[in-house]
Subunit: 209 residues, 2 copies
Amino acid sequence: MARIAGSHGPTTAAAIRRAGLALIHRHGYEATSLRQLAAAVGLRPASLYNHFPTKQALLFSLIHDHMIDLLAGTEAALEAAGRGPLARLRAFLAHHLRYHLDRKAEVFIANFELRALAPGNHAAVIGLRRRYEGLLIGLLEEEAAAGRVTLPDAPVTAYAVLAMLTGACTWYKPEGRLDPEAIIALHTDLVLRGLAAAPPLARAASGPE
Amino acid sequence: MARIAGSHGPTTAAAIRRAGLALIHRHGYEATSLRQLAAAVGLRPASLYNHFPTKQALLFSLIHDHMIDLLAGTEAALEAAGRGPLARLRAFLAHHLRYHLDRKAEVFIANFELRALAPGNHAAVIGLRRRYEGLLIGLLEEEAAAGRVTLPDAPVTAYAVLAMLTGACTWYKPEGRLDPEAIIALHTDLVLRGLAAAPPLARAASGPE
DNA sequence: GAAATAAACGAACATACGTTCGTTGAACAG
DNA sequence: CTGTTCAACGAACGTATGTTCGTTTATTTC
């Protein structure tokens, strides 16, 4: 009925984050109760408050940390990429997919639970997300300026590409048929071919659409 | 304090559906209370039960009807399409986007609130969704068999394409810069070029990824 | 016009929620 | 060894939730 032998703050906090991630991923933020969360960590509900001030703060922390990691990882990947044509764009796509397959739960929450964020937290995350989208938009514009890519509209194209890549975290299962590298290759080809500065497609002349 | 003059069952039921759609779209299913919903329609909470047996049944009805409409609309669009190369695939893509831009709320809910469905309802919707994905997978395989498309993996390619197209309903705003037809054209080009049976891309030799 | 049905209501139910509080005993700093 | 901090606890608070019930009056049916 008091402090448990061997209990250690940071360890417990990490366990709460881990369990929170899994529960919110599975059931959603609103549908996840602190009693469930506490039970998953082997605590009483009140004890959670030794580690997080509110449920909302936990959600924000999970999403915010993920965005920071994603941005830092991407910037490092771009840094490490060569200067060749499309090299940085390729690096962006590969990093995005690798990260999204590797950290499905974070990504899923960051995309599906944005609405559950309080206004200030929401704005902060949107800002980070804008910065991330900006990286891709910039890469697309660079390649377009060099004539290596056709780009009717940089932002919308970026949204389309991101939606496609991010979608992978919805259906991907580690035990599935394709391994991550195959999935990365498939998506990269699809995107780069789709963007390629190529003779415009013959428009359909047969159907009504 | 009793039946209101001019009240009409089907009209009220439709109003509940409309308001429920908007509220769930904005706040999510779990975060939408029946008191909010009733207030939006100008009713008391108890009166909702004259029109829907449970909150869950309302959600299921919204999602289920949407899936039925989507399937029926798609089948009609394919029927109406010509037999030319890529004609049916084009028709699928155009219909999917038009529907998704037009009925953002339904689509958003059907994709984001699946977890909130009770197991039986969930299975029913997943079944319909499988059928829908199957249509695209079939089209892709037809085109691949005719040598008009490169297809490393039909299901994963279909998921990628659907994720990209469906993503549009996340960011699309009717008052935005691009009108629906421009968005449809952009996506169609991106997808068809991406799939095109073309000389494989030179793999990057410059970057580490 | 009477009987049956439809569609609203107010009041209340049990339950669950996020959170606060004071307390207790382990871990750690001097 | 002592005093402080840390990390757990049980109990409770106020509020909100989905839903049920019996009642009341408009509308429809015969």
